[in-house]
Symmetry: C2
């Protein structure tokens, strides 16, 4: 095939599922869901079951599963922990199946269900992810989770960083303004990513809730070569 198409979507409110059948969708929600998922697999988790409803997560807990569940950053009372990547330590998750319920995550996975593949992206697995993508003969959509349907900078910067790696491979082309903007914002921010992230809205929100301790970790590149992917509704790692 010729060059593959690369597109970026800045918010669930802008996602058009019918345009992306038979393409690979990369879900990006770096503060903190997709960073937590990558960390779980890096630390040996066997699989992650995403669930939408709180009651469903509670049922799994009652049946003995390890449950990570949060709403707006706060841990639900019955859950083992929330969605800080620091929770998903090797001693807790190795070999385990984790049930995971987040504010946005499951809805986004459902929206993307017509895609050929759904994979999980973050800075933590960025090179493994880009390497896997370039081996697929498929168009790619970088799907930023945003915040309450709004554009956010941190997911856009991660999309720009992924786009940069893909464009360098010379296998992709883009005429998508969102991708071009993400690439330029990334080129602007990358020399001092930690400093740049200081100004983003989610940084302030997490600080206000005392949940900002993991931000620098979430901005670290290539701590893992795992690429989590949805298979039959469950997240597994497709690179081990």
């Amino acid at each position: 095939m010729g060059k593959r198409k690369l597109e970026t979507c800045f918010s669930p409110a802008l996602y058009e599922p019918e345009l992306h059948t038979d393409e690979v969708v990369v879900i990006i929600d770096i503060l903190r869901a997709t960073s937590a998922i990558c960390t779980a697999f890096a630390n040996g988790a066997a699989s992650i079951i995403p669930v939408a409803e709180i009651n469903e997560a509670r049922d799994y807990k009652n049946r003995g599963f390890l449950v990570a569940a949060e709403r707006d950053g706060f841990v639900l009372d019955f859950a083992d922990f929330g969605n800080s990547p620091f929770n998903f330590t090797r001693d807790k998750v190795e070999g385990k199946t984790i049930v995971y319920s987040t504010t946005n995550g499951t809805g986004i996975i459902n929206m993307a269900s017509k895609a050929s593949d759904i994979i999980i992206g973050s800075f933590l697995n960025i090179s493994a992810l880009a390497g896997w993508l370039t081996k697929q003969e498929k168009n790619v959509v970088l799907f930023c989770a945003g915040w309450k349907n709004r554009f956010n900078l941190e997911d856009t910067l991660c999309a720009g960083a992924i786009a940069e790696q893909l464009m360098k491979s010379n296998q992709y082309q883009t005429i998508c303004d969102s991708t071009l903007a993400a690439l330029d914002l990334w080129s602007f921010a990358k020399e001092d990513l930690t400093g740049y992230i200081e100004k983003v809205a989610q940084r302030t929100r997490l600080r206000d809730k005392g949940l900002d301790d993991c931000i620098n970790f979430c901005l670290t590149t290539d701590t893992t070569n795992k690429v989590p992917s949805i298979k039959n509704g469950i997240l597994v790692s497709i690179i081990s």
Copy 2:
């Protein structure tokens, strides 16, 4: 009051009317609707009646009005002309009321109808616009029309340029990631705006339709001090 709030919305699909009651909404659709409107007033138009439906525009034409009407860039057959700013010459529009029907424009004006004020922004009137805004004791939303509900770069850059002027006035604050992104993209593009615009998707679309002759004109700053505003459903100039 303290510093006023400055926000940016990248697409009609992201606009939340209930958040912006009692604020000033600046509508930005520089290729080509808002540039055409600013040019009409620069050339002495008395007022512009925005209409949504083609049949409504045709009725106005039959009643003797001057009618500008387009869909996807193409002039409707009964109309006097379409939405290239080059159509709105002084000999055609001076002293006239123009009926104007565009692909997106009326829908966006209706979406913003709960706002305190709705004004029309482009590079052509940017300093007059920013000057007017700073005299209002109101929060501001820069509302980019986008393209078919998607993010676009050209409206984002104009939003960034307006935001730069407002932030320099030291009367505004923003914690809106979209505004921060627009500011950074503008700072990235402004040294060679014409060159930067070469890559945006709408540039290619207009070129493919032979409608790109007005792009450089639409990127020109401060050709007019008119600030078009909606009053009782009709566009008039609030600075003459």
